[in-house]
Amino acid sequence: MWQYAIKRILLTIPTLFIASGLVFICVRLLPGDPALLIAGDVQDEAALDAVRQSLGLDQPIIVQYGLWLKNMLSLNLGISISSGTPVVDLIVSRFSVTAQLVLIASAIALVVAAPLGLFAASRHNTRTDSVIMITSILMLSIPSFWIALLLILVFGVELKWLPTVGYVSADENLLQAVRFMIMPVLALTFVVLGQLTRMMRSTSIDILGKDYITHARAKGLSEAAVLRHHVFKNAFAPTMTLMGMIVGSLLGGAAVVETIFTLPGIGRLMVDSIYARDYPVIQGSVLLVGTAYVFVNLVVDLLYPFLDPRVKL
């Protein structure tokens, strides 16, 4: 069992390595001279050179990469060019905001979607099933940023119940934090709910046609018992895998929702830093997001054997 886990973990290392290399190259490809951006309208070459030297941009590429790798492994990701704060602190604080948003939204979606999908499958070919199925396709077809706009329109502008922009950390004031987070979370939950329900439903329908379900029914189990004990666990595994993928991609892809609600999340940070050519921040945040994605998938893979005992290798 442990061998599987370790092997899986080891496999992620080359992936991360290549990913960090990709980040480095892509960032260097961006046009625009960060020295200029910082120094502003300065014409003096010597001054610009001084700036470059302080950023380490005058060294050959290989040296820069080597330096960066070394620093990365010791968690020194440099200083943000735009704000001057250490990159590590910056991306960690931003990431925790995004993580809260994504994890809460996904958890709510999963808790609702799993029983809902199962229920729809049990009522396959009836009107209830059609309604649930169409609703879930509808939900996953609507862009989350439009939901966000609509929510703001209804709750923020018309009813004025909730604040439309801004963020308060939960440490400071829990009630206020919740008020600021409700709409962003809802916007994400909406779409994820549709995706997870659809997956759970179709997997459950597949399982209901299998021989071991016939066997369970032949023993005289009630339909509820069959669903609870035999279908659920087997249908949940692929759904959980999907959720892992969704969480992983949302961690970096919630940029639009973060922008709409001006949440200090890592997606928005990435977008802003690309505009500002803030190399260290771009590198650090992209690396963090990529690592998080790999990590989430790893966790899902490691949890899988608990759901499906056949997977043990």
Partner: protein
Amino acid sequence: MMRPRFNLYLGASLVGVWVLVALIGLAVTPYDPLDMNFDTRLSPPTFHYWMGTDQYGRDLFSRVLSASSISLIISLVTVLIAMSVGCVIGAIAGYLGGIVDRVVVVCLDAIMAFPPLLLVLIFLSVAGPSASAIIWALGAAFVPTAARVMRSTVLSIRETEYIEACCVVGSHDTWILWRHVLPNCVSPLTVLATSMFATVLLLESALSFLGLGVPPPRATWGALLADSRPFLGQAPWLSIFPGIAISLALLGVNMLGDALRDYLDPQQRQASREGL
């Protein structure tokens, strides 16, 4: 079964309407979408302006119409690019196996670790925003997905007995790939194409929303939504209609994709069902 038919009809009609609208929108709209008219700015939907007007007095309906063609073209071409490149890579990796496969998989995984939005952003920052840059950027971002799916399809086909039969009969590898493997990939690839189409459309809208889409004054639905933000309270119709358009288009593609999947899968299962 009623379900797939319903999916099929509704999905196909929605997509059909979209294509029709896009084709029409290329040629004729009630008003010129770029036509500004400060007298009628920010007016709600009326008989003259079916969806109302924006802050420059431009007719929203015409703008939505013309945006439909742009969105359709961008998404379609992107999917074509991503699938052509991705499928070649995936087929080679899947069929050859061994070290080639291993290397390709690790590279693909590495690229897929990044949110596509990000990849596109970086690409666009290098190349500058323009319709063709967006298409290439999106296409490149989805090549790994297409490659992965193609690879796993080819892997599973490679293990079938009829491929083994071809080896026994003495056919060459290229012949086998061309004549036997690829035709059997059509079903899963069709399903992939429709789901990728939906994702690309969504991503393209998100990009436009962030201001990185096709440069103004030509606009896609996402850009229309972005423009509507400052006037959310004043002119809610500016946010509602483009959103409905995106949602309906996505709904149509998703339903069509589901119906195709249902249609293609049982057919293969039916072929080997015998003796109950």
